[in-house]
Amino acid sequence: MLLLIQYTLIFASVLMLVALGGCISEHSGIINLGLEGIMVVGALGGALVMSSLSTSSAIVIVLAAMIAAILAGMLYSCLLGVAAIHFKADQTLVGTAMNLLATAAATVLVKAMNTAMNPDNHSSEIEYVSARKMFIVNINGFEFNWFMLVAIIAVVAVYFILYKNRFGLRLMACGEHPQAADSVGISVRKMRWAGVLISGGLGGLGGLCYILAGVSIWKFENGVAGFGFLALAVMIFGQWKPTRIAVAALIFGLFRSLSNTYIGFDFLTRLNLPGNVYNMMPYIVCLIVLAFTSKASRAPKAEGIPYDKGSR
């Protein structure tokens, strides 16, 4: 039971971080379908720092890895920013390309580095056993991960940025009616860049959190298994509102953690379902939830539409 709570919380933290990123980006008017790829790049940035830093100071490693993940995610999100804000590209297409590129590039890069260090090593894995321990505080068998705290801080911060702050209100104006925002002197481009970069940072952080969730070795060929999209579903279920996103993330996190922990429950093992059913669970729940919540969508009105000064 403790294990279930632990996994639920850590997966919920991943989903919260990434979904909040998606939420900010969409409020600025850019659909960020590339979150999946941003997560991979963020995870790569964090993993590289974790495997190369050799200090024993926990704070240094935790902070350095987090900062690396944020920076990597932000840098990668520039691909979306340039294409969607300056070249009016199709945001769905660009996001998809970013997802494919991230996994492929990360694989190529990690394999090249592994091979350079040891010519017989052609794997795409990075190990961070000792670094992972620094993220975790053991409280009577419950593994508290610092990311759980980071996720809560992120929820509060995004709430204040969006609703209690001039910047956030301006950002949201650019997602609802960019022409109106422009007419009162708000730079739509700047706001959208801010949205994309923040979502890149949060997405990268979420990616690092994901690879730290249950394992201490990550194979970059696998990407992040659709978690970026799951986060987008969380965002839709959360109706683009930070507090609701937090609740939605907890629900999805619970279903995701079942596939790691169902063996520990007698009544679940007695059902004798194949393990794949539990693997499918979050996706199925997501579909059902979306079916019921998408109708009354509170999506920002101008999301996905390139801003054109001339159009009305």
Partner: protein, 365 residues
């Protein structure tokens, strides 16, 4: 020359060539970055693919392999572009492809069906999965990209579970098709002798026919017109008396059937077997996105662009594996997709340049 450049098709072609060159260049730079000494040779090998073999017979045989794998890719890109023309981004093609693979393999291995029923069953499975996305989109307003991705994973785990019942006991792979049900293998129509490769089958002519049919449906029929109208403006189409919900569902079902067919045309050649423990959705459906956009969203363009993408993907195995990994091809094709996002901009720029020079000419006269 200028007249030629004004043609939309030519513009699309120029843009595609630009994307390919830029993609290859970036791939080359990545190789240089990893290890400068073998980069030129490896990038050339990627471009050459089957030409890297010196014996003509081996070349033809490898060409056959690339052809066999291009057919499902063509169908996946047709699947993508068909729905894209109707304003739907069917990223679920990847999952519909999985459903098709699962259906055809299961029918062949567990029930011993012949090749044609298996193929049709695969199309039905793909269509059903596409239909779910369509229903959710039409009646519940669920974004088709998100539901498509979710269904991709559901399809993958379902396929893994189902196909585990027909797998070899010692390995995670499904049983050999040619040993258990040879009748499910696609007929080769004698083409195996030309290529010295029994993986070249009826799939090749069949795919060409399907591509032409898709082109005719989209550009020459009332159905195609209605579907495109629904894509352009759902409300206007409804106002004009078109059954918009039906059109959305039908589009995704056709799209899914195409993807399912693609899977059956690969797995029923016996080229590869399903790995029941695989933890990621096969990339065929995603590469279809690259091919569809590179082909200028035209069915005939998709045929050529798919062959090209498969060509460089296969070329990836000829890189010097002492330094590089074959996934460099995936990097190149994903860069190409990314650049396809700029096609609209490239076309606009071309138009602007032409208009400007026309203006100058007019002023001189």
């Amino acid at each position: 020359m200028k007249k030629l450049l004004k043609n939309e098709g030519v513009q699309a072609f120029v843009a595609a060539i630009f994307c390919i060159l830029a993609g290859l260049l970036i791939g080359y730079i990545v190789l240089l970055f990893i290890n400068p000494s073998g980069a030129s040779e490896s990038i050339l090998n990627i471009i050459k693919n089957f030409f890297t073999w010196s014996r003509p017979a081996s070349r033809i045989k490898q060409l056959g392999n690339t052809l066999a794998k291009s057919m499902p890719l063509i169908l996946c890109s047709l699947s993508i572009l068909f729905s894209y023309k109707v304003g739907l981004f069917n990223i679920g093609t990847a999952g519909q492809y999985v459903a098709g693979a699962c259906a055809s393999l299961y029918a062949a291995l567990a029930w011993g069906w012949g090749w044609l029923p298996c193929m049709i069953f695969a199309m039905v499975a793909g269509a059903l999965l596409g239909g779910i996305t369509g229903l959710l989109k039409a009646y519940c307003n669920v974004n088709e990209v998100i539901s498509g991705i979710m269904l991709n994973w559901i399809a993958l785990y379902t396929a893994n579970t189902l196909l585990t019942t027909v797998k070899e006991t010692a390995s995670p792979y499904t049983l050999y098709l040619d040993k258990v049900t040879p009748g499910a293998l696609l007929p080769t129509l004698g083409m195996d002798k030309w290529f010295g490769n029994d993986k070249v089958t009826i799939a090749v002519p069949l795919t060409m026919i399907v591509a032409v049919i898709v082109w005719i449906i989209l550009s020459k029929t009332r159905l195609g017109y209605e579907l495109k109208a629904t894509g352009n403006n759902r409300n206007a189409a409804k106002y004009a008396g078109m059954a918009q919900n039906r059109n959305i569902i039908m589009t995704l079902m056709i799209s899914g059937a195409l993807a399912g067919l693609g899977a059956s045309l690969l797995y029923q050649t016996g080229y590869m077997r399903w790995e029941c423990t695989q933890s990621s959705v096969p990339s065929m459906g995603f590469n279809g996105i690259a091919a569809a956009f590179l082909g200028g969203l035209h069915p005939i363009g998709a045929v050529f662009s798919s062959f090209f993408i498969q060509h460089i993907t296969d070329g990836g195995q000829y890189v010097n594996t002492n330094f590089y990994s074959s996934q460099i091809s995936d990097v190149i094709s994903s860069v190409i997709i990314y650049l396809c996002g700029f096609v609209l901009f490239i076309k606009l720029t071309m138009k602007k340049i032409i208009a400007k020079s026309d203006e100058k000419k007019g002023a001189k006269q």
